[in-house]
């Protein structure tokens, strides 16, 4: 069972719809029992970091997520804000603490060129920087849909976690991977064929891990 974490914010339905389109049913839930029973966990998110973290805490899922993903090694996919939550903290809003699963911080995009606008909204090319199961079967510079103003900047001591970068006035991490933990800043559920392929690859690795 793949669980899409429900914490009262974000595009949960879109993510569930995309999994259903590739023939994978998902459970939308914040129930601790579901998260314990899950074989894979997806944390989506559109929204503001401080509000999102507050809601994750209010939903009472932070401890169980940490235990299942960090402790038991369940495959985890964070999407957009869900990837940013991997960080230690964020510059957005009041500088809230994140999950801290991958050392680093969340910063606002700061394009040097004033014509490059923030939020970064739209379709942009990735540069794949190392092999990742998530990109299996995709071409060299796949184009994905982004919508964000902040990005996850892994710390130097996080290791070689960045699997793809993207350029929007500056180069930022489009995706990260460390062991069973995956994060994508773009929206695979909104990126047509190449996006659904990412979800298929995630499903395959959940099945392989189960």
């Amino acid at each position: 069972m793949i669980v899409v974490v429900d914490y009262g914010v974000g595009n949960l339905r879109s993510v569930a719809n995309a999994f259903e389109a590739i023939g994978q049913s998902v459970t939308i839930s914040s129930d601790v029992r579901d998260l314990r029973a899950a074989s894979g966990i997806v944390l989506p998110g559109v929204g503001a970091f401080p509000d999102g973290m507050r809601r994750l805490h209010a939903a009472g899922v932070v401890d169980v997520l940490t235990a299942e993903v960090q402790g038991r090694g369940k495959p985890f996919l964070g999407i957009c804000l869900g990837m940013q939550f991997l960080a230690d903290d964020s510059a957005e809003g009041d500088g809230a603490r994140g999950l801290g699963w991958i050392p680093g911080t969340v910063r606002r995009l700061e394009p040097k060129d004033p014509r490059v606008k923030v939020p970064h909204i739209g379709w942009n090319e990735l540069t794949l920087t190392r092999d990742s199961t998530l990109y299996a079967g995709l071409g060299e510079d796949p184009v994905y849909y982004f919508v964000h103003s902040y990005h996850f900047a892994p710390a130097p001591d996080a290791g070689d976690v960045v699997t793809a970068t993207c350029w929007h006035g500056e180069t930022f991490a489009a995706s990260v991977e460390r062991g069973n933990v995956f994060g994508v800043q773009f929206h695979p559920e909104k990126s047509q064929r190449v996006g659904l392929r990412i979800l298929e690859n995630f499903v395959a690795l959940v099945r392989a891990a189960a």
């Binding site: 719809n17 509000d51 939020p119 970064h120 909204i121 739209g122 090319e125």
Partner: protein, 252 residues
């Protein structure tokens, strides 16, 4: 590099696609919105905007049902607007599968609504639509309530205020140009696009593919939107993309 976006707009009245000409909606296009979305998905459009223009709010549930059904088939961003008046309503619409919302009338009546929405869902989720008419004395004026109520506001000043309050994008529609087949109000679009730091989406008036190119090149819009033209042209969005690409615009 960020691609320029091509965005078809579905204008719905009582959950049916209608044609809009200068904000009057007369023809019900004999088209199920579901068919439209399947069609757009197949041809690689970059986003879909759905606007409810129904006057009868008792039928709002039908619009919600349509959004929910559309989101199941829509694997590009789905942006939903029309009569959205509260943070709770935005949350409900996002839960139906929308990715972004368009707010308009309520944002003018109570500008703090923009800040509340942005603080809760992030700026990138909040599109502020600005409907504009040319003023008789020259210049432009912002209208609300689907073009019925003048506000006395000047579009650039209002767009800048909306940006400051947390809007993530501006969808600017010229009511005069909408459905009038003359292309976008390019000076209006360009004034906003040049002055704002957030993306501007141009809407209203497209009748040829060149109008889309003009919106990007002359209007400097980040994204170009159109409604009626896509309803009547076979393979329309693919042809539009091909035309834009040939004109040197970086599209997906």
């Amino acid at each position: 590099m960020l691609k320029r976006r091509l965005i078809p707009v579905l204008i719905l009245r009582d959950a049916q696609v209608v044609q809009s000409v200068q904000f009057r909606h007369t023809n019900v296009i004999h088209w199920d919105p579901m068919k439209a979305v399947e069609f757009f998905n197949a041809w690689a459009v970059d986003e879909i905007v759905v606007l409810d223009v129904s006057r009868d709010t008792r039928r709002r549930q039908r619009f919600y049902d349509a959004v929910s059904a559309l989101s199941r088939k829509c694997f590009v961003p789905l942006t939903v607007g029309g009569w959205i008046g509260s943070v709770d309503e935005i949350r409900a619409i996002l839960r139906l599968g929308a990715d972004k919302v368009v707010i308009n009338t309520q944002a003018v009546r109570r500008p703090a609504f923009i800040s509340e929405a942005a603080a809760t869902f992030g700026s990138q989720c909040v599109v502020v639509a600005i409907d504009v008419r040319r003023a008789e004395a020259g210049g432009h004026e912002v209208y609300i309530d689907r073009g019925r109520e003048p506000t006395g506001r000047e579009p650039l000043a209002w767009a800048q205020e909306a940006e400051r309050l947390g809007a993530g994008e501006i969808l600017v529609t010229s009511i005069d140009h909408e459905g009038a087949r003359q292309g976008y109000d390019l000076p209006l679009v360009r004034r906003l696009a040049d002055a704002l730091d957030i993306p501007v989406v141009a809407f209203g008036g497209v009748f040829t593919w060149q109008h889309l190119v003009d919106g990007v090149v002359e209007g400097r819009a980040e994204a170009v939107a159109a409604a009626n033209i896509f309803h009547y042209t076979e393979m329309s969005t693919k042809r539009a993309k091909d035309y834009m690409r040939l004109a040197g615009i970086d599209v997906r």
